[in-house]
Point group: C2
């Protein structure tokens, strides 16, 4: 399968992979300056003394980079990756300068909408890994997906 995928194409247990993106110190600083200006994301000396024990990317930077990986990866719902919300988002390990991230998404649930026959929701868990395959982020969310039968 190459996508785009309609609701009818999704099934529990499917796995979708992404490419890889490297994150460097300058990117960590640039994101932090704009969105999360705290010392452990902006200042290497201050970061050493923080709970991160060294410079770390903002968790929101990891989330944003994961979105980029998803958009360019195998997971291609028709109509785009349209997240309604998440009910779990965690950062079990810090992302460091030089880390290379990739992600994997697993379909946990597929259900047609009761009120709208042209769409449905899928529940997906996306795990982001660093180059050592250590988990740096997990989120589980609900996405809106069109039904093929009503849209083609």
């Amino acid at each position: 399968m190459k996508g785009p995928y309609y609701l009818e194409d999704f099934a529990v247990g499917q796995i979708f992979k992404t490419g890889r993106l490297r994150i460097d110190k300058e990117q960590i600083f640039a994101f932090a300056k704009q969105f999360d200006p705290q010392p452990y994301h902006l200042d290497e000396a201050a970061a050493l003394k923080s709970p991160f024990q060294g410079l770390a990317a903002s968790g929101w930077h990891t989330a944003a980079l994961t979105m980029r990986l998803l958009v360019e990866g195998e997971f291609k719902p028709a109509g785009g990756i349209l997240g309604i919300g998440f009910d779990a988002l965690s950062w079990p390990r810090a992302v460091r300068p030089g880390d290379e991230l990739h992600a994997q998404s697993e379909v946990l649930d597929v259900r047609p909408s009761k009120s709208r026959p042209d769409r449905g929701m899928i529940r997906v868990r996306t795990t982001t890994y660093n180059q050592n395959n250590e988990t740096v982020q997990i989120f589980t969310g609900n996405l809106l997906v069109p039904r093929r039968s009503a849209n083609t």
Copy 2:
């Protein structure tokens, strides 16, 4: 209170406010190009035909801007705003070009760590509003906070 706040300073029901940040079309495009390159965040004509029915900011952009509002707002835990993870994140309404966002955080729970006497966790719900006080994002998360008794 002006902060920084230690675990002992937090109590259930406290409310912390932020300033305001305006988001314009160029910022929506710039974030989307870098992190969420999908048509409804990048192309006004395509966005009109999408479920957003017009150009909308990436949800991750709203999350990142909310973080910026928090860092510059009244909510100042000692040691920084250190999110461990979230168990609810939703975007009930799209953020549009020209919207001016502000946020409000409410403390839902305060608990000392059982294993680490120098810290604890607080549970906080942050709601982000547009200029019409319509909710554009809600997240509920757990933050690591140092205890005053062990750190001063």
